[in-house]
Each structure stands twice: as structure tokens, then as C-alpha cells.
Amino acid sequence: MATRVLIADDEQDIKDIIQMYLESQGYEIETAYDGLDAVDRVQSWNPDVVLLDIMMPLMDGISVCRKIKSDPATKDIAVIMISAASKREKEGEAYQAGADAYVLKPFEPADLVKKIEQSLTTKK
């Protein structure tokens, strides 16, 4: 069964291109357009990995991550934060919220795949 990845980003272009790339690499993809939508999709779709943009409307990525990690039903889902903020500015906060990895924009798509696979192996 293909790995299920939820992409939550309010930037439509980014979401589309990551979706296309990850689908080409054999992942199953769902998308969310803001923080609250992401929380809903996590609960209804139960993905293996969530890619969370930090700056999102309604609820920011860090809060979404905290919510996922504090719910026993979803706490095992791997969370990868994606940020346009500088690494040093938000990285600590992201890890404190329970994130499994932190990716800085702009990133190499291949690196993203590497991070996804790494976070899945540590879960198993």
C-alpha cells in the first residue's frame, strides 16, 4: 500500500508541484488549504506523513503539529514542517511542538523525499 502524504500549504502552486512530484514517486496524496482544514483531513484520512507549512491562515503549522502530536489517535503520524522563515527562527519551536523534521524553503524535491523516508523509518 502506498504511503499516504497530506500536504498542507496555502500556496496553491507549491502544493500542486509537490503533489505532482510525490505522486510521480509513488506516494498517495491529499491536500489541505489551511491549518483547520489540515486538522480535519488528518482525522478523516489518517495519513502516514503530514507536510505542514508554518505560515498558514486560520491555524499556523506549529499549532497544527502540536494538535496532531497531543492526540493519541494521531500522535504516530510523522510531521515534517516546511518553512520560509529562517531555519534558526522557527526550527526550535517546531521541534518543541513535536515535529519529526524541518525543511527550509526553497528545497530540493529529492531532499524532501529523503526526509519523508527518514521520518517513516524512525517511526517503525
Binding site: 520560509a84 529562517s86 531555519k87 530540493e108
Partner: protein, 554 residues
């Protein structure tokens, strides 16, 4: 001036004489005049042939004549007695008086040539003592009618010497107080802050130059005038409020005024404060009012504000640039991966897009890093890093840049050596990327860029050389300044932000390393990077060496 008493036979007489002597010595503030009258008085009272005072110069350790009744003043400058030498030098050093009744009967006395020439057969030499040490020596020589100084003479003389010491000490204190006051007054007069003092009846007691300018008054003519007559119309009411509030309720306060002085167009921002001169005495000691020109401070605040907004704007825009950049870079990457069978032209166009997107991403990172350096927001995350593999990663990442110019890139390292340093991975990568980009940019087409790694005791060296235009000697340091490029011609020929070398140096220095221009000729330009080696890892340790054999991409 001279004491009319003859030396009486009773002790009362002596005491009265000493008291009168003491009173006379206290009269004048001038040391020379004091000593001159002292030698006259002492000679007269002691019925001596001569009396001299020598003062000790503590810096040189020399006694010099200050006053004398027997030695002509033209000779004074030539009489120098070293501390510890001669009679006077010994008395000054030990602090003990010396009384010799008959010189002829005492052998082995260290008599100076002056003494033989000017002195009589009997003498007394007494130290002039202060708490801090010896001030000098007073001597009397001979005795009229060829008599010797008796024991009683000695006691009286020591009493006189003590009075003279006390007078000299007092005089010294007064002198230094006057000097201190003058010194302080000069400083106060020239400070840019305006200072005025008032007595408790609010009459002006002091006004320095700056205060006189602020209040538009003549400082000399205004002393003694009441405060409410001193200030120009534009500030009088508010300054008086401040002063009266202090006088009536004892509350010190300050305020800012915008003054329009002498028809100037822009107001002068001024800070005024008032407080008691001596807090412990309430306001009885008077009031001090200070005026400060705040225009520089305000300008400074405005400039800082402007600089902050600029930094904020740059930081914001850099963050905003990242999101579209991600979309562009990811799109290009996906396109390349998903359409492998492109015709060569499409491939070239894609490579151009990719290369420039990366360049833009690098520039955005540089701008953000400069912002962080300027706000000192650079927390280094140190880890053990192999410089060799970092260099190779960076070279691989910039493949498009050197391949485009058909540059032969060579990374030279010793596979048995380790190049491990303690560094922040992202920052060091940025440094190497910048230095490589620099080398590629200035290297001529089909030229060579060589990166050499070397381990030297406790540091790692990295030399990046390229063949390209020579950097003139006079620019060797300037090239590491922000936004500097050697020639405007070059700026057009070689595009760049002018941040690369600046950042490289700043970041390396944060790591305890540096980068310098080691050599630049028509054929070769070499930048030398040094970094402290990771102290936890010994040199030549094969376990940490991830070096590959000499590596030449292609």
C-alpha cells in the same frame, strides 16, 4: 614681619614665640614666600649665621634649595642633594634630626662642599615631615659670636620645624584644592551640556558657556541675578515651573522643550532638568539646572528607526521571495526528472532556469545572513564537520555553474588526513558556496579552478585558486567590505551582490577562522581560508577521513 621677641629664659616665652611663628606662617598661600619669610624668622630667632630650606622632589629623589639666608640665590640651582647622601639627604631619608655642636670634634661627617663654604662650626638639620612622608629639610648653621647650638636650641628648632611642616601641609592642601577647582571649572566650562547653579534664593551663582548660550545671557554679568530674569521668553515660564516645583515641593524633574531660538526655522529640542546641589542638605546648598541639546539624540533615534525599517523590509522581502522560489525550483526539478528525453536545446534552457533559480536562492540567503550578522542574531550550531566532504558537496551543487564555462574543477586532498572542524553546517556551506561562485565567476572560460585542502597542526587550510583577472594589491582588504567590487567595469561584466566575500569573512571569523587574498597575479588568484581544527579529533585519524582520492569531476 620679624619677630621681636628675644629668646626668653622661661618656657612661656618660648611657647608664645612658637605660637606667633605659627600664625605668621599661616598667612600666605605662596610656598616660595612662605619659605623665604620662614628662613628669615628662624635665623633671627635661633641667632644663626644662616638658615636654608631644601624641598624634596619625590619623582627624582633630589633635595633642592627653596630658600636660604646664607647661600646666594644664584647658587641654588646648582645645589642638588640626593636622598640619603650628605647631611640633608640623610636627614630627609631617615626623618631623624641631626644636631652637631662642633664640626671639628666629629669625624666621618659626610659634609658637602657647600657646607664647608657656607656653614659655621655648629649646625642642626631637621626634617620637615607630613603624614605622607618627608617634605624637605631645614638647616641652621653656626651661631653668632662663634657659640655652639645648645640642647635647648635644638628643642626650640625642632618646634619651629614642626610649625613650618604644618604650614607647608596646609599650604599644599590649599594649592591642590585650588588647582582641582580650576581644573574642574575648566571642564565644566567646556562641556556641551548647559549647567547653571542657583543659591536657595534662586540667584545665579554659576553658569557655564553652554548654559549661557542656551539662555542667551552674558555669564559674567548675570551672576547674582534672580532666575526669573535670566531666560528668554520662549522658555522662561516652563523652566521657572521646573525650578519652583523643585523649591516648593522638593521634586526633581526634567522635561523636553522645542525652542525657536533667534528666528531659526527648525526648533531646537532641549532637555531641561533641575535638582538639589546636595541631596543631604535639602535645597539649602542650592539648585542645579542642566540643559541638554537633544537634536543629535533625536536624529540618532530617527536614523536608527530608518535603519530598523530597512532591515525589517529586507528581511520581509527575503522571506516573501522564498515561497515563489520554492515553486520555481521544484517545478524545474520535477520537469527534469519527469521528462528525461528532452532535446538538447530544451535541456539547456532548463539548465539556465535551474542555475539562475539557485543563484537567486543563494542571494536571498546572503541578504538574510547579512541581516542576522547586523542584528547579531547569529547563533552558531556547532558540530564536527568534514570540510573535505562539504567542499565536494558544494562543488557538486554548483555543477551547472562550472560546467557552463567549461571550467576544469579539481579538489585536492590527502585521503589519509582528516579535515574535521567545529562549525555550523549551513553557514560553512554558505561560505564555501560563495568562495566557489566567486572563483567560477572570475575564472576565464575553459580555465582551471583548484581547491586544495591542507591540515597544519591545529588548523585546516583551504586554498581556492582560479585563473582570472588580477586583483590589484591596493584592493586586498577592500574586497572583503560590504558591497565592494573592484571596478565598476567589472561590476557590469561580473554581476554580483558584493556580499559574498564580506559574508565569507564575517562568518569565518565567527568560527575563529578567516579568509584572506593570499596571492593574485595575471595567471592565478588564490583565496586562503583557515579554520581551527576540531580539537576533539586527532590529525591523521583514518576513522574520520571521508576523503576520496583526488577528485576531478568529469
Amino acid at each position: 614681619m620679624l619677630i621681636r621677641h628675644r629668646l626668653g629664659s622661661t618656657q612661656e616665652n618660648t611657647a608664645a614665640l612658637l605660637a606667633q611663628f605659627g600664625a605668621l606662617l599661616q598667612a600666605g598661600p605662596d610656598v616660595d614666600a612662605l619659605c623665604a619669610s620662614a628662613v628669615q624668622m628662624v635665623q633671627h630667632v635661633m641667632k644663626a649665621q644662616g638658615c636654608s630650606i631644601m624641598m624634596l622632589d619625590h619623582c627624582e629623589g633630589l633635595l633642592r634649595i627653596k630658600a636660604s639666608t646664607s647661600i646666594p640665590s644664584s647658587q641654588w640651582a646648582s645645589v642638588l642633594v640626593r636622598l640619603g647622601e650628605g647631611i640633608a639627604g640623610r636627614v630627609a631619608l631617615t626623618g631623624e634630626p641631626l644636631h652637631v655642636k662642633n664640626v671639628a670634634r666629629r669625624k666621618n661627617l659626610p659634609l658637602s662642599p657647600f657646607r664647608e663654604r657656607y656653614a659655621g662650626p655648629s649646625f642642626i638639620s631637621a626634617p620637615l615631615l607630613a603624614n605622607s612622608g618627608t617634605l624637605g629639610v631645614i638647616n641652621i648653621d653656626g651661631k653668632t659670636r662663634g657659640k655652639c647650638f645648645s640642647r635647648r636650641d635644638g628643642v626650640l628648632f625642632l618646634g619651629l620645624a614642626n610649625f613650618l611642616s604644618a604650614a607647608l601641609i596646609k599650604n599644599h592642601e590649599i594649592q591642590s584644592r585650588i588647582a582641582g577647582y580650576n581644573h574642574f571649572g575648566c571642564i565644566l566650562h567646556s562641556v556641551p551640556m548647559g549647567v547653571m547653579t542657583f543659591d536657595k534664593a534662586l540667584r545665579l551663582t554659576h553658569c557655564n558657556r553652554a548654559a549661557a548660550e542656551f539662555a542667551c545671557i552674558d555669564p559674567e554679568a548675570s551672576i547674582g541675578r534672580p532666575a526669573h530674569q535670566l531666560f528668554p521668553e520662549c522658555m522662561r515660564a516652563r523652566v521657572m515651573d521646573l525650578i519652583l516645583q523643585l523649591r516648593d515641593s522638593g521634586i526633581s524633574s526634567c522635561m523636553e522643550l522645542d525652542l525657536f531660538l533667534n528666528g531659526q526655522e527648525r526648533p531646537l529640542p532641549m532637555g531641561v532638568s533641575a535638582f538639589g546641589l546636595d541631596e543631604s542638605k535639602g535645597l539649602s546648598a542650592g539648585i542645579i539646572v542642566m540643559f541638554e541639546d537633544l537634536s543629535l539624540r533625536r536624529e540618532n533615534m530617527e536614523l536608527r528607526h530608518a535603519s530598523d525599517s530597512k532591515s525589517h523590509f529586507l528581511s520581509l522581502i527575503s522571506h516573501e521571495l522564498r515561497t515563489p522560489l520554492t515553486a520555481v525550483m521544484t517545478s524545474l526539478h520535477v520537469l527534469r526528472k519527469t521528462a528525461p528525453n528532452m532535446d538538447p536545446n530544451t535541456k539547456r534552457i532548463l539548465a539556465i532556469g535551474d542555475r539562475n533559480a539557485r543563484r537567486l536562492a543563494g542571494l536571498v540567503e546572503d541578504i538574510l545572513e547579512v541581516q542576522r550578522l547586523e542584528t547579531q542574531d547569529t547563533n552558531l550550531k556547532l558540530e564536527s564537520l568534514d570540510l573535505n566532504s562539504l567542499v565536494r558537496d558544494a562543488a557538486e551543487n554548483r555543477r551547472a555553474a562550472w560546467e557552463e564555462k567549461e571550467i576544469q574543477l579539481l579538489v585536492v586532498s590527502d585521503q589519509n588526513e582528516n579535515y574535521v572542524v567545529q562549525a555550523d553546517r549551513d553557514r560553512l556551506y554558505q561560505v564555501i558556496r560563495n568562495l566557489l561562485d566567486n572563483a567560477f565567476k572570475f575564472c576565464r572560460i575553459n580555465g582551471n579552478v583548484t581547491v586544495r585542502l591542507a591540515r597544519l597542526n591545529n588548523r585546516v587550510e583551504l586554498r581556492i585558486s582560479n585563473c582570472g583577472p588580477m586583483i590589484p594589491m591596493r584592493y586586498r582588504e577592500h574586497i572583503f567590505e560590504k558591497f565592494f567590487q573592484v571596478q565598476s567595469v567589472m561590476t557590469r561584466q561580473f554581476s554580483g551582490s558584493g556580499l559574498g566575500l564580506y559574508l565569507a569573512r564575517q562568518l569565518l571569523r565567527l568560527h575563529g577562522g578567516d579568509v584572506v587574498l593570499e596571492q593574485s597575479s595575471e595567471n592565478e588568484t588564490i583565496f586562503l581560508v583557515t579554520l581551527p581544527a576540531d580539537p576533539a579529533i586527532e590529525g591523521n585519524s583514518a576513522t574520520f577521513s571521508t576523503a576520496q582520492p583526488t577528485y576531478s569531476p568529469d
